[in-house]
Structure formats: structure tokens, C-alpha cells
Symmetry: C2
Amino acid sequence: MIVLSPTLEDLSAAQAAFSRFMPVDAEMFGTMSEFAQTVVVPKGTLWVEQGRPSTHVAVIVEGLFRAVYSSDGDDTTYGFYYAPGFVTEYAGFVRQTEARLSIEALEDSRIVQWSYPAIQHLYSLGPKGERLGRLIAEEVFVGFMDRTMELLLYAPEERYARMVERGSSLLQRVPLYMIADYLGITPESLSRIRARMLRKTS
Amino acid sequence: MIVLSPTLEDLSAAQAAFSRFMPVDAEMFGTMSEFAQTVVVPKGTLWVEQGRPSTHVAVIVEGLFRAVYSSDGDDTTYGFYYAPGFVTEYAGFVRQTEARLSIEALEDSRIVQWSYPAIQHLYSLGPKGERLGRLIAEEVFVGFMDRTMELLLYAPEERYARMVERGSSLLQRVPLYMIADYLGITPESLSRIRARMLRKTS
DNA sequence: TGTCGGCCTTGACGAACGTCAAGGAGTTTG
DNA sequence: CAAACTCCTTGACGTTCGTCAAGGCCGACA
């Protein structure tokens, strides 16, 4: 992992990500830029390690990450993160406790990150900073609600079918055993589900 | 549902709930009290109805609620809410869109509620209001992360076993078919799981 | 007291999933 | 070029789940 000063493109990608939630004026953009770091994360690197501090939140300029929970030597893929969007081990970050998940780069990635003190500083600047933090937390929340609903409402086969219908780019970018994991099933089961679906459409 | 002016006990229960997240000073407490309403919700009432606006957020003084998603005539129990804690159809509330879930009182309940404009007013008072909103959103988020993790990591039988170990009061207060639903299985399967667990311990 | 309705259990059966094991295709590495 | 590795698939088998159906328990209520 290499830490750099952000380029203008990095900063504008970051601003675009934040702008999806609320307008970012010149002053806030300036403050953000001042504390931002660009990080180049090679494929396979753990940007956050389970059990260690979760110190940063980042905007993904390019690349792909997964959140993974490890226990007794086996991994569970909890979620994926890609541009344009955020990546962070949120639970640990907001409470400044140790990360409960690792976050691993699945492709060579480039992110713009802020430390916890930098974010606190942003909050301390006034209601606009707090507001941005709140809006992002709420948005992230709604995303997780969808995820939980998917697991509760649909059987494994339907979950995969819906992912295909949605045209998720993950299906092209991620090995199937991680998709299986994400859907809550084994790779063998996903393989059989795919075989069944092929038989039906042909 | 009967709407009343909050009693002092109602307000102090509300303050206690908020205090779990950050100190609430006299000024903020005053503003909160000014806009608060107490609502008596009889068992069986839908406090929020799926498809209609999600207008309020509330602190539970006493009672029990469940969030339920209805589709094609069958229901899925999404979560439970009880004192001391909050209840709201959060996704609809924060975005002021229609509720995606209904929220039903499972016991005769008493809550202290705030409307969306009241909360916005609280936010507009300065960083402390925004901060409180953000902290609550983050806390709610971590809870949902736990919920999703439970569904991904554990098989149905383990999910029930963990609920028993945790000593959840829900097991005493809620019919098993709702528990089954909450765990993502059918009532029949939960019944068999209970039978299996009894055989093992005896 | 008898009946009704809500809730839990049990049975039977088929379908889907998990596990263990083996094999094949494509890519990387020496 | 061959060997090693990663990833996906397929097979066999046992277990668990969902569904449909029936029956029992218990509190509510006339």
C-alpha cells in the first residue's frame, strides 16, 4: 500500500461521491482536501484487518473491495464495495473499536481516505459536517436493510436470480465462490443453481 | 391510538433513551419536549403502515413492536423493538418516502414520538442536534450489521440456539411463529429444531 | 360448559442444501 | 513444455428445510 498526496482527479472523484448526499461547498471541499490521502491498494492487500483498529473511511476512485469475516480459518464474504462509493469498516470506525471485518482489495485499487480525527474535525466545523456524516450513515443503513431483507425474503436460488436480473457487475468481476458466500450458500450449491437455471432457460 | 401530551415520566424515559448516545442538555431537552407527543398504541395496531408515509420516530416507554413486510398476503417479521429503545420505519423516515415495512404493536404500548419536521427543527438548531441524529443512525446501523451477520454466518438451528443463550426476552413475549419468521424459517422447522434440541439436552 | 379460534406440534414427502471427494479447464510458474 | 495452482463443476449421500395436512392444547367467549 502506497500513500500519496491526492491528485486533482482523486479529489474530484471524492467530491462527486459526497455530492450524491448533499452539496459540498468550496469551504468544505477545501477542508476535505486538506486532510485527504490517496492510497494505492494492490490486489490482495488487506486495507483493514479484522481485530485491528479501523482508522479510516475512504472514497473508491477505482477498484473493488470485499468485507470478510474470518473465524476458525474460514471466511465469510459480507459485502462488496466499488466506485463510485465508500469503503470503511463502519462499525469499528464510528465507535473507534477494533474492526470486526477485514477489507481486502480484490482488484488493484485507488482510494481517497480520511482518518478518524480528520472526520471529527470536519464534524466540528459545524452543522454541515455533521449533516454530511448523518446522511451518509443513513444511506449506508438503507443499503444494509436491503441486504438483510434479501436474505430473509428470498431462497438462495431466488437471491442469485435477482442478482443476475439486476445485472450486477460483480458477476463478471468476482469469483463465484465469493458470490456464493455473499449469498449465504456454498460454491457447490451455487454451481448447481446455475446448472438448474440453464436447463430451464434452454 | 390516542395522542396525548407527554407526562414527565414519558419525557424522562425519552431523555434516558437519548442519553445512551450523547448528553442531552437542558436546552435540547426543552426543544425535544416542546415537540414531543405521547401515543398510546393498543395491541394489534399498526403504528406505521407499509406503503403510507413514515412520519415519526419514537422512543418506547413501554410495550413491544415488530416490523413486518407484507407481500402477496404473507408477512415477514423483520425485527422487534422494545424499551428502552427507538422505533421507526427508518428507511422511509429519513428519506421521507413511503414506508417499506409496517410497524405493529404486539403489546399495549406507550411511546413518545416526534414528527419529521420536529426532528428537522432539532437538526437546524446546530451541531448538537445533527450529532445526535448521526450517532443514533450509526448505532442503528451497527445493530443491523449484527442482524445480517447472524443470517450469513449461522444455520437456522444455530440462530435459534444463540437466541436462547442470549436469554432474549422475546422468547417469552412473542409467539413462536414470529420468532421463526425472524430467524428466516417456517414455524414447522422451528418446532422441529426445538424438538431436536430437547432430545440432545435430556 | 361447550365451542371456537389461535398456536404449536407431528407426520409424510419431495426438493434443496451441506459435505466430502474427484475431475476438468484455464492460467500461472518454474 | 510440464507442473502446480485456482476455480468451477459434478457425483454421491445424509441432513435439513419447505409444504401440505392433521391433530392436540388452551384460553376466550357465549
